[in-house]
Symmetry: C2
Subunit: 114 residues, 2 copies
Amino acid sequence: MTKNKVNISFRIWFYTGNEKFLGKGRVELLERIDKTGSISSAAKGMKMSYRQAWQMVNEMNERASEIVVEKSLGGKGGGGATITKAGEKAIQQFHEFEKKVAQFIADESKNLNF
Amino acid sequence: MTKNKVNISFRIWFYTGNEKFLGKGRVELLERIDKTGSISSAAKGMKMSYRQAWQMVNEMNERASEIVVEKSLGGKGGGGATITKAGEKAIQQFHEFEKKVAQFIADESKNLNF
DNA sequence: TATCGCTATTCATTTAAAAACATAATGAAA
DNA sequence: TTTCATTATGTTTTTAAATGAATAGCGATA
């Protein structure tokens, strides 16, 4: 009867009310928007269609009390998108929370076997 | 600037090595097998095809060091399936772990706003 | 030895989510 | 006033996952 070590994986999501607001994927999207300055190039960088990326951004903006992405239309480069202070805070809080949970799970799972 | 309360949802998965072994859905499947005595009626009770249920059971048995479901073929009622001691333990440990994580997250998320 | 309901397995079909495609609309700047 | 890359939005196509259907095998028991 060999015992196997059990590893635990997890995911967390932030909700506002009962609507999904932020998860790992959306955080990555926000970070890429921050880095590239546009939804379209952020989407290109992940395996994601522009349409979906745009929709995600829109949902997040609708569901947060302050928008997380400021979008601009037309102009020099056609427009673009930037992360707001509220967006930066959301990203940071998500990472922090995820880290805490990871630490907790790592501690608690040390002696879990089958 | 109204702040919204943020709720956090999560899911955890048990892995043996780097293969998924157990998650919320599979735990429910095991519990239904336990209650009904067969994979087929357990599957019927959830929104799940017998095929998938059978495959899940098979995967779990392959990936655990001891099988979690004992299957019997033919005989009086055509056969059936029962949960082993190892299976019961797995279910119990999953629930316990999930509960601990839920408590941790509830505590940590008390003052999270946007 | 016939029956019965289950396990076991293959193959076709359905479905839902995402991608891909197409096309306006925008507005600063040259 | 033309250009440009982007946002914005509707429509079609692809893809992946699950379901559904069909069939064989099993074996205790009546």
